[in-house]
C-alpha cells in the first residue's frame, strides 16, 4: 500500500519509527536467551534423570530377601522422552533466533519477523504439550490410578520424581518466555500499524 501524503517531516519521523520498530530491543534478546537457557537445562535435567534403588524381594519365607537393584530412568517413559525432544527443539530454535536477532540488529524484512512469530508459536504449542504429558505421567506416578491399577512410583523413587518436577517447572518458565516473546513481537507490529 503506497502512501502519498507524507511531507518531509513525516518521512523522517516514520523512518525513525520504522528503525525502532524493526530493531531488536534488549528485552527480546534477554527473553530469547532466557528461553534458550531454561529449555536447555530442563532437557538436560530430565535427560540424565536416573535413580537406582535396592529393593528387597522375598521369594519365600524361608530364604532371606534378595536385594535387587531396580533402576528408574527417564527413557523408560515415552512422555519423558517426548519432553526432552520437545525442549531440545525449542532450545535449538531459541539459539537460532538469537543468532538471527544479533545479525539483523538494525532492520530487516518484516516477513522474517512474521515467520519467527509463527515458529515461536509452534514452539509454544510443542513446549506446552510436553509439559502436559510429563505433568500427567508424573501425576500418575505420584498418586497412582486405582481405577486402572497403575501403582504410584514416587514413594520409592523420591529423587527421580523431584528432578522431574524441577525440570517441569523450568520448562514451564521457558514456555512463558516464548509466550512473552510472541506478545512482544505482536505489540511491536501493532505499534507500527
Amino acid at each position: 500500500m503506497e502512501r502519498a501524503n507524507n511531507g518531509g517531516l513525516d518521512g523522517i519521523m516514520h523512518k525513525s519509527k520504522e528503525k525502532e520498530g524493526y530493531a531488536i530491543g534488549w528485552l527480546e534478546l534477554v527473553l530469547r536467551f532466557l528461553a534458550f537457557l531454561l529449555t536447555l537445562i530442563a532437557a538436560i535435567l530430565l535427560g540424565i534423570d536416573k535413580q537406582t534403588k535396592i529393593v528387597p524381594i522375598k521369594i519365600s519365607t524361608d530364604l532371606p530377601a534378595f536385594n535387587v537393584p531396580v533402576t528408574a530412568k527417564s527413557s523408560y517413559v515415552s512422555a519423558f522422552v517426548y519432553f526432552v525432544v520437545a525442549n531440545s527443539i525449542a532450545c535449538a530454535f531459541a539459539a537460532l533466533s538469537l543468532a538471527l536477532a544479533f545479525m539483523r540488529k538494525g532492520g530487516g524484512k518484516g516477513i522474517i519477523r512474521l515467520i519467527i512469530i509463527v515458529v515461536d508459536l509452534m514452539m509454544i504449542a510443542l513446549l506446552f504439550s510436553g509439559i502436559g504429558a510429563t505433568g500427567a505421567v508424573g501425576l500418575i506416578g505420584f498418586k497412582g490410578n486405582s481405577h486402572l491399577m497403575w501403582n504410584k512410583v514416587c514413594n520409592v523413587y523420591g529423587k527421580f520424581c523431584h528432578q522431574v518436577m524441577g525440570s517441569l517447572a523450568l520448562s514451564l518458565f521457558g514456555a512463558i518466555a516464548f509466550v512473552l516473546l510472541v506478545s512482544l513481537s505482536v505489540s511491536k507490529l501493532y505499534n507500527r500499524a
Binding site: 509463527v118 509454544i124 506446552f128 504439550s129 502436559g132 500418575i140 490410578n145
Partner: protein, 194 residues
C-alpha cells in the same frame, strides 16, 4: 478513498490508512477458522464424554462388570475442561470477528486483542493435547518398567474414542496457529510501507 478518510472523525490521523477491499477476505477466513475451532472443540468434548465402556472382568474373586470412563483419569478431565473453554472462547470471538466483518474500517486493536488471546488459548489446548496423549499412550502400550498394564486390549471402544478426541484436539491447536498467522498477517499488512 479520500471520502473514507474524512469519515474517520474530526482529528485526521496520519497513521491510519484506508482499508483495502481485500482486507475483508482475511476477516472471512478468520470467522471460518473460528467456526472450525468451535466444531473441533465440540467434537473432541463429545467424543471424550461418550467414551464409557463397561466390560466383565474375570478375576479370581469372581466376574464383575468394570467400567472405563474418562473421569478415571485427571488428564482426560483436563482435556474436557480445556476444550470446553476453547469452544466457549471460539463462540465469543467468532461473534466479535463477525461483527467487525461488516465494518469498512477496522482498528488494528481488534487483531492485537484476538492475537494475544489466541496465543494464550493455544497454550491451554496444546497442553490438553499433550496431557491426554501422554496418558493415552501409556494406556495403549502399557509400561513394563513401572508395571502399568495396558488397557486398550480390553476396552477397545474407550480407546478409540479417546484417541479420536486427542486427534481432534490436535486439529484445534493447528487451527489456532493458523488463526494467529491470519491475524498477524492482517496486522503486518497494516504497516505503512515506504
Amino acid at each position: 478513498m479520500s471520502s473514507m478518510e474524512t469519515e474517520k472523525g474530526a482529528v485526521p490521523t496520519p497513521q491510519a490508512p484506508p482499508v483495502a477491499p481485500t482486507d475483508n477476505k482475511y476477516r472471512v477466513v478468520d470467522v471460518i477458522l473460528r467456526v472450525l475451532l468451535l466444531a473441533a472443540s465440540i467434537a473432541s468434548v463429545v467424543l471424550m464424554v461418550t467414551s464409557k465402556q463397561t466390560e466383565i472382568i474375570v478375576s479370581p474373586l469372581g466376574s464383575r462388570p468394570n467400567a472405563a470412563k474418562f473421569q478415571n483419569s485427571p488428564a482426560f478431565i483436563y482435556l474436557v475442561a480445556a476444550l470446553s473453554v476453547a469452544g466457549l472462547y471460539s463462540i465469543i470471538t467468532a461473534l466479535v470477528s463477525l461483527s467487525y466483518m461488516m465494518k469498512p474500517i477496522v482498528a488494528p486493536k481488534l487483531f492485537w486483542i484476538l492475537l494475544i488471546h489466541d496465543v494464550l488459548l493455544l497454550g491451554i489446548v496444546a497442553a490438553a493435547t499433550g496431557t491426554a496423549g501422554g496418558v493415552g499412550y501409556i494406556g495403549l502400550k502399557g509400561n513394563t518398567h513401572v508395571r502399568w498394564g495396558k488397557i486398550c486390549n480390553v476396552y477397545d471402544k474407550f480407546c478409540r474414542h479417546v484417541g479420536a478426541s486427542i486427534i481432534v484436539s490436535l486439529f484445534a491447536a493447528v487451527v489456532l496457529v493458523l488463526l494467529v498467522f491470519v491475524n498477524a498477517n492482517s496486522l503486518y499488512r497494516r504497516i505503512p510501507k515506504y
